[in-house]
Subunit: 102 residues, 2 copies
């Protein structure tokens, strides 16, 4: 079962580390208990919408950016992410021609 | 304050209606109380990750699709969605020239 809180915890942690902030700093800014935030980051506690909004603000990151990142990571877990085709068209045509020959 | 549960409720309701399912059908398939699901759809209750996974399965919609939709709608609420520019470049140039004259 794919659990949103686990991906959400990872995303919150990654954004925090990107901003080089400590758990204590984010918890303090968001007026959230340190232990609670730590459990949220480890995917052990659900964050209410109000807490999530506070933490997002403390991180200086819009909630939408957090949720989109959660959605993207869940898509990978669910195996339905679309990997962008970065190969030049000519190369793809070459591969296809090669496959057709075999 | 932008609340995830309100957008999530709207998204779950919209996906359910798209599939022409009743609250009762989804609640039954997801083994969730009807009243609880109704409150989740109205943004009055937080859905735990387990409940969300069950409801997503009942709707036949991956959790990632639901969370991405939530993220997209939140971006609109937060005013940071990127609206694609559908105006032809010449028209944009015309507007800019017009503004410069005033």
């Amino acid at each position: 079962m794919v659990l949103v809180r686990q991906e959400l915890g990872d995303v919150l942690r990654d954004f925090r580390l990107q901003k080089a902030m400590t758990l204590r700093q984010v918890a303090s800014r968001a007026s959230v208990a340190l232990g609670y935030l730590s459990e949220v980051e480890r995917g052990q506690k659900e964050a209410s919408s109000e807490i999530l909004a506070s933490v997002a603000e403390a991180l200086g990151t819009p909630v939408s950016v957090i949720m989109r990142e959660v959605g993207d990571r869940l898509a990978v877990v669910e195996g339905i992410s679309t990997v962008p085709d970065t190969l030049p068209d000519e190369l793809v045509a070459e591969f296809d021609a090669d496959l057709a020959v075999r």
